[in-house]
């Protein structure tokens, strides 16, 4: 589904990523882990076109998307959530999800300004669909609330609903459990599995090891901008290099 080949990223003299190559298999949940500063978020930013890689290529379904802007990648089915939640704070919860339906609607300035009949029916359709996605993540009662006033946990759910509204092929989640308490994290695990069951491939960056080991089919470990290991959760848990990177070497 998503294939990264030889991804490298330099910021000035700093090498943030080097020689990252792995596949995210269709239908799987892939976890990307690593200590702070390993380059996980940088990798997501490259995958979603926030900035270009210095070297290497990003392939989605075999198509090289390395130079496409974010909005084009979104239309191809590559969508993400953000570590620090990037909601549209002054808009309502429902409107946030309706922005997620932007790619599935096409009314332009003229048909919107003149309220053409097809624009009105399109508006009704995406409103209904947005409500369905709010129900999917379990916050249907919040639709009229201003998104900026939501708690962190609810905001996270809204961000997932908004991303799912695009009906992505591949959903990248940047630390979805960050800032959540344990019961919220447990609900999140269920939600991510339900997303996978809808046929959406998921890749997530996460620090919560219990969550990663619980839901992921495959794990990629980064350390200091390079690939450290790749494998099933069991393989990773037994990998000596990974243990060393996380716990330090024995003296």
């Amino acid at each position: 589904m998503l294939k990264l080949t030889g991804i490298g990223k330099r910021f000035g003299g700093l090498t943030a990523l080097q020689g990252i190559s792995f596949n995210v298999t269709k239908g799987s949940i892939t976890g990307i882990i690593g200590p702070n500063g390993a380059g996980k978020t940088t990798l997501f930013n490259i995958a979603t076109g926030i900035y270009p890689p210095s070297e290497g290529a990003v392939l989605l379904d075999g198509k090289d998307i390395s130079t496409l802007p974010s909005e084009r990648r979104a239309r191809l089915g590559l969508v993400r959530t953000f570590q620090n939640i990037e909601l549209f704070g002054k808009m309502t919860v429902l409107e946030n999800v309706m922005v997620g339906l932007h790619t599935q609607s096409k009314s332009g300035i003229f048909s919107c300004a003149f309220r053409m009949p097809w624009q009105m029916s399109e508006e009704r359709r995406i409103r209904e669909k947005a409500k369905e996605w709010l129900a999917f993540v379990g916050i249907p009662e919040l639709e009229e609330v201003e998104a900026g006033t939501l708690s962190f946990g609810k905001g996270r759910l809204l961000e997932i609903a908004r991303a799912m509204a695009l009906e992505p092929k591949l959903l990248l989640m940047d630390e979805p459990a960050a800032g959540l308490n344990s019961s919220e994290t447990a609900e999140l695990a269920q939600l991510i599995k339900r997303i996978r069951d809808l046929g959406v491939t998921v890749a997530l960056v996460e620090h919560d090891m219990d969550l990663v080991m619980d839901i992921c089919d495959a794990i990629v470990v980064l350390n200091l901008g390079t690939m450290l290991a790749e494998g099933t959760p069991r393989e990773i848990q037994d990998n000596q290099a990974v243990i060393t990177a996380y716990l330090g070497e024995e003296v």
Binding site: P69, L87, K90, E95, H102, I109, A113, F114
Partner: protein, 317 residues
């Protein structure tokens, strides 16, 4: 939805009745300019209040509309309505073309670039003397007519201008409560997130910039036919800043706020006449205190009162 319609009808009714007690006097004339300024502020508000992109060059599009119509109807004797449409389309194309490079910039740089556009256009009005008459202005612009009916009095022009203004309000209300409006507000709140959601931010910004230029050009054409005389001084940097003030004072991201701001800033200088030479000081003080104490603008007033009043109540209890 329903309450939006009622609001619009009430506003339209007020517009319809407002000139009746004035009996075509001087204030009717002032209200014409409220309508024109309101349209201009509305155009800028779409850009600044919704999409979050500043423009300090709105007076340029207004001026291009006014001079375009003025020159075509005097020197070339073109039908004024045709000229208005032609000029608005040409100004829109101009805005669309400069929009792509200019709107790549953000914040202060965008302000500088649009300021530059405004200044260049203003210089052009002054220097192309064969066409515009230069600093001494362009006179003898005909009033608009429909069939044999001529818009030759303040009252007639009032209804002409406000007819256009009401149409602009209605269309913009539709627009901001639609897919396009949501896209614009999304760009305003978080451009990165909007783009990741598939919103083509770059194109949308240029589109709304073009739309604001279109509205400004129409307002300019109306202005030249109402005034029958125009000179470059009406379309300078000063006026761009005044429009910006109207939008901020009226309420960013509010269609009606644009008009409230236009009403206040157009009427205020008239009402402050009683202060004679000190009017500019009172004017300045009012604007400064309103920006400090009413960050939501005039449209934010009801909400501000609601917030303040219960707080006082609980102190007494």
């Amino acid at each position: 939805m329903k309450s939006d319609h009622i609001k619009f009808l009430v506003f339209a009714l007020l517009v319809l009745l407002a000139p009746l007690p004035l009996a075509g006097g001087y204030l009717t004339n002032v209200l014409i300019f409220v309508g024109i300024n309101g349209m201009l502020a509305l155009g800028l508000n779409l850009l600044l209040g919704y999409a979050g992109q500043i423009s300090l060059g709105q007076a340029a599009f207004f001026g291009l509309g006014a001079y375009g119509s003025g020159v075509l109807t005097t020197l070339y004797a073109m039908n004024p309505w045709l000229a208005m449409l032609l000029v608005a389309v040409c100004v829109s194309i101009f805005a669309f073309a400069i929009g792509f490079p200019v709107l790549r910039l953000k914040g202060h740089y965008l302000a500088m670039a649009t300021l530059g556009v405004g200044i260049i256009v203003h210089i052009a009005f002054n220097e192309t003397i064969e066409l515009t008459g230069g600093p001494s202005g362009l006179s003898g612009i005909p009033n608009l007519t429909i069939g044999g009916f001529s818009f030759d009095s303040d009252l007639k022009n009032y209804y002409l201008v406000w007819g256009f203004a009401l149409v602009a309000i209605l269309l913009c209300l539709n627009l901001v409560n639609s897919r396009v409006g949501r896209g614009l507000r999304a760009i305003h709140d978080s451009e990165v997130a909007a783009r990741v959601m598939g919103v083509n931010a770059r194109l949308m910004k240029v589109q709304v910039f073009t739309l604001s230029a279109f509205i400004s050009a129409i307002a300019g054409s109306l202005y030249c036919h109402v005034m029958t005389f125009i000179s470059p001084s009406s379309f300078g940097f000063h006026f761009s800043v005044e429009l910006l003030t109207m939008v901020v004072i009226g309420g960013l991201g509010s269609v009606y706020g644009s008009f409230l701001g236009a009403i206040l800033l157009t009427l205020l200088p008239e009402m402050l006449r009683t202060f004679e030479d000190y009017d500019i000081i009172v004017y300045g003080l009012l604007l400064v205190s309103m920006t400090i104490y009413m960050p939501g603008g005039l449209v934010g007033l009801p909400a501000l009162f609601r917030r303040l009043l219960p707080a006082r109540g609980s102190q007494h209890a």
